[in-house]
Symmetry: C2
Subunit: 551 residues, 2 copies
């Protein structure tokens, strides 16, 4: 039997486009002699469809897509992920299902058992968990069909009381198929492989895995679909960060024999963390713009490392002709900020403009003079500069059809070291899930062959340049220290005494954690952050604003 | 036996404060001869604690609170809601529990069975559902103890496959206790009563119900704890929108006899929808400020109805000495906008300032002149005016320690008729869950005895005044029509053909739904919206930005 894994990019809610893409892949695969083609989780409607799933109209369109696709499954079978109406009155109204389509119709349906409901996942919001288990008989094979999270219950502290393959294995399946929508994070590729390998090894069965590829607002799906041998070794892997397809011949003799049918089946399992992050962010930017129907990005260049990195990534994603870098110097801006920015735009070949904010800032100051008189220069004046920049950038974006890229980093988002409605503006936050130290490391990686991001930007001391001779280190500990504490708190969710036990001063830990919690109100209004860690700011991290924990 | 229902306001994460409040209530009740005092759901940690629940340190503090409280339960028993570590390795790490405390220790624990995971609820994110049922024996009574959602599975399309009281009833309980954190909406009081009455009637048992009171960022808990007789009639109700406590004597003869022990037990079941909404919003503002440690609010007064209503509510919540109303007229502002605003601030007795935006707007225009030259006045220029206002208001707020109140209404938030980083600024959106037509109705109600909101504000045609002679109706259908379509789409989640079937033109429905969906990116960055409907913008409504559904 010939099986084809089809790793495609879908657009949430675009039933016409998604359905056509699936049908085209089925036709091509059929011409190539494929017996069974496998698509990813919730392929018809895209993932995550979020509250669109609560519209009967939306579900009706998904179910109509399945009917349409089924008609094309003649002489070929397909597995397609799609939501399904729960026929039982008790329980949630939907299942997250994998349709097995054959002979022009729905032959069998498998519903998802384990519904992730942590971090960015909300599946229990919509779906009823499956409670019955049945392998799929196709040709001489019995297939244990599972959906994404169904494989993720193997660790020491399992989140679910049921493990689907423990049930399915009783029916002696020949191999496992898993269709998934597993988003990227910088630790996810290793963890995912580990999980897939763990399942193959535990059940001594080969595993065919098809993941989503593409970006949906803040989430980036990296693909990396794969075939794992029954001994737990990776047999084949599809591309990361792009659409791909691979076919395999399966034969049942004493044991199952799998043969790769594509010429290029050389395994390259080594990953470079920085290349993966770069590829993920480029994909995230590109699809955000594509899916919203935009082509052009504008951003403010400060002369610092954050906006330099975002310029580089945006150029990669959208092309140099589509990036507009704007320098917005003030009286506090240093000459090197301008020089370094010019060097950067020259290296990238992108358009730039210089728009001093002196006049607008002074206009705010004179407008507010009757009230501010007698007060000293402080945070309010700093914010006025930042907000002058935000308004100018948004003015240009609105006038000429650009999306403003936000350049906040995770360290500053965490401690509130940024101005709401100022430098926190933007349609999407590109590097808001990278700590400052990671940004330095990524820039060094980007410069590995030639100086793309001017070295001076990497070596000078970070400064917001909102008052004379300001340095980030005036009010923050060194980023090496800050980022470690933040990582323990945000990613690892350790409490103050646990972090202190890692070797940090109590007062410093308390100060940092308090800063994080008391700035929750700012992050509520931050743009969507492209997620590249296991815990990004945004829908994956839900914290009360008016709480009193740790501050 | 004397039972006391204690309806208190808790502060998320403030274990010290919450614990002390509970202990004080226990001591007072004991002095009054109470045998059993009942507190609301998750009382120790506050509701909703959201992702703070993922911190072991947070849970340890909740468990320590229970230990502390238990020591005070000598000669009196208490039921206290608190999270509990799941002792079983499989499944989620926590239960949402009701502790039964007696003789200085934890005598029994009941875990929540039905975990709401829709709208603003995320309980399955944290908690494992209970699967075993045991009544609590106390004195001569058997108590069926349940937690909030446990009672909410009686409708025609039940969301859960288990109904806890169907299990507990087998053990012949004498009455039901339910501890809850049930947030307010304008339809919730009736629905909640209906649900409580339905349970009492179905199981033929009296029901003692204790709800949260207080506001947590966007959520308002209205209290309204109650006692329902076994025939389904409301026997007694505690106050709405404030802390309250009531005691009852229960005697077991042929049937259970309940006697109200407070003097003021006259039932006033009639509710006024507008008074409830007003009380809810006032409580929402007040506690948002209190819990963040702020006292003073600033807002922009446009001369329109939205900012007028917010001024009125803010004055009620914070006191006239704490409100600063700022008029920010432009060249497009009409004289009546200024006159009406002045009349309003005089009626309310609040401070006002007039700060023309002409200079800052012109400064942006001249700064952008090299780019804007040759283009015609449009949305970009409108936004510059709105953003000039936002920056000035935020400047004053930052300088003098005010929180800026957002004045967006639900109709304009829905269709994107507002400027991000302009009039969408603010720490909290006060009326963002009220459609424009509801705002008119509420203002008429507020003016029922005397003219508080100047009549001219209620009668003139709505206008953003961002260009000459602009009216909202230039680009939007009449609010009566718009709001109906929006309600069908947002609250009722009807699709386009279902809404069309309600009697609206297809083209209009498509236009409105498209406007809603294509403005999702703006709402992502909107402030928290005080929730008064069953579907507010914010965490209760999760919609993709880069989707392609209905646009």
């Amino acid at each position: 039997m010939k099986i084809t894994l089809s790793q495609l990019s879908f657009h949430t809610g675009n039933f016409e486009g998604n359905t056509q893409k699936i049908i085209d892949a089925i036709h091509t695969a059929k011409l190539n002699g494929t017996d069974l083609i496998v698509f990813s989780e919730l392929a018809t409607c895209g993932y995550p469809a979020r509250d669109f799933l609560e519209f009967k109209d939306f579900i009706a369109q998904a179910e109509a897509s399945i009917d349409t696709i089924a008609k094309h499954c003649v002489g070929i079978a397909a597995i397609v992920g799609s939501p399904r109406t729960n026929p039982i009155i008790e329980g949630k109204d939907l299942f997250n299902s994998a349709y097995f389509l054959e002979e022009g119709k729905v032959k069998q349906v498998t519903d998802k058992t384990l519904l992730p409901n942590y971090d960015i996942f909300d599946e229990y919001r919509y779906f009823e968990p499956n409670k019955s288990f049945q392998v799929i008989a196709f040709k001489e094979f019995k297939i244990a069909l599972t959906i994404c999270e169904d494989l993720w219950n193997l660790n020491d502290n399992p989140m679910y009381i049921t493990t689907p393959l423990d049930e399915l294995i009783k029916q002696n399946p020949d191999f496992i198929i898993n269709i998934a929508a597993s988003p990227f994070s910088k630790t996810q590729i290793a963890e995912r492989r580990n999980t897939l390998q763990g399942n193959a090894k535990k059940y001594q069965l080969p595993l065919f895995y098809v993941n989503h590829i593409g970006a949906q607002t803040h989430l980036i799906f990296d693909g990396g679909s794969s075939v794992i041998s029954s001994n737990g070794e990776v047999f084949s892997e599809l591309a990361y960060f792009k659409e791909d397809e691979k076919s395999f011949e399966i034969q049942k003799e004493n044991q199952l024999i799998i043969q790769a049918l594509d010429e290029n089946n050389a395994l390259k399992l080594d990953r470079n963390k920085y290349q993966d992050i770069e590829d993920a962010l480029v994909l995230g930017i590109r699809q955000y713009f594509q899916k919203l129907g935009f082509t052009k990005a504008i951003l403010g260049l400060s002369g610092g490392i954050d906006s330099a990195l975002v310029s580089y990534l945006a150029e990669k994603a959208l092309g140099k002709e589509n990036i507009w870098a704007v320098l917005l110097p003030s009286q506090f801006s240093s000459q090197h900020s301008i020089d370094d920015s010019i060097a950067l735009v020259n290296n990238l070949g992108i358009k730039h403009s210089i728009i001093p904010i002196e006049n607008t800032y002074q206009s705010f100051m004179s407008t507010l003079e009757p009230f501010f008189a007698g007060t000293s220069f402080g945070l309010s004046e700093e914010n006025l500069q930042s907000r002058s920049r935000g308004v100018i950038l948004m003015g240009l974006a609105n006038k000429f059809g650009y999306i403003l890229l936000n350049t906040s980093n995770k360290s500053e988002l965490a401690v509130g070291y940024g101005t709401l409605y100022g430098d926190m503006c933007g349609g999407i936050s590109v590097i808001g899930d990278l700590y400052k130290t990671e940004i330095f490391e990524l820039c060094v990686y980007i410069n590995r062959e030639k100086e793309i991001i001017p070295n001076n930007i990497l070596t000078k001391e970070p400064s917001a340049e909102l008052r004379p001779d300001q340095k980030d280190s005036d009010s923050l500990p060194p980023y090496e220290t800050l980022d470690q504490i933040l990582h323990f708190y945000i990613e690892d969710r350790l409490g103050p005494s646990q972090i202190e036990a890692k070797g940090f001063e109590r007062a410093l830990v308390q100060k940092i954690l308090k800063m994080v919690n008391m700035n929750e109100w700012k992050r509520w209004q931050a743009p969507p952050v492209l997620r590249v860690s296991k815990k990004a700011f945004g829908p994956g991290r839900r914290v009360p604003i008016s709480g009193k924990y740790l501050y």
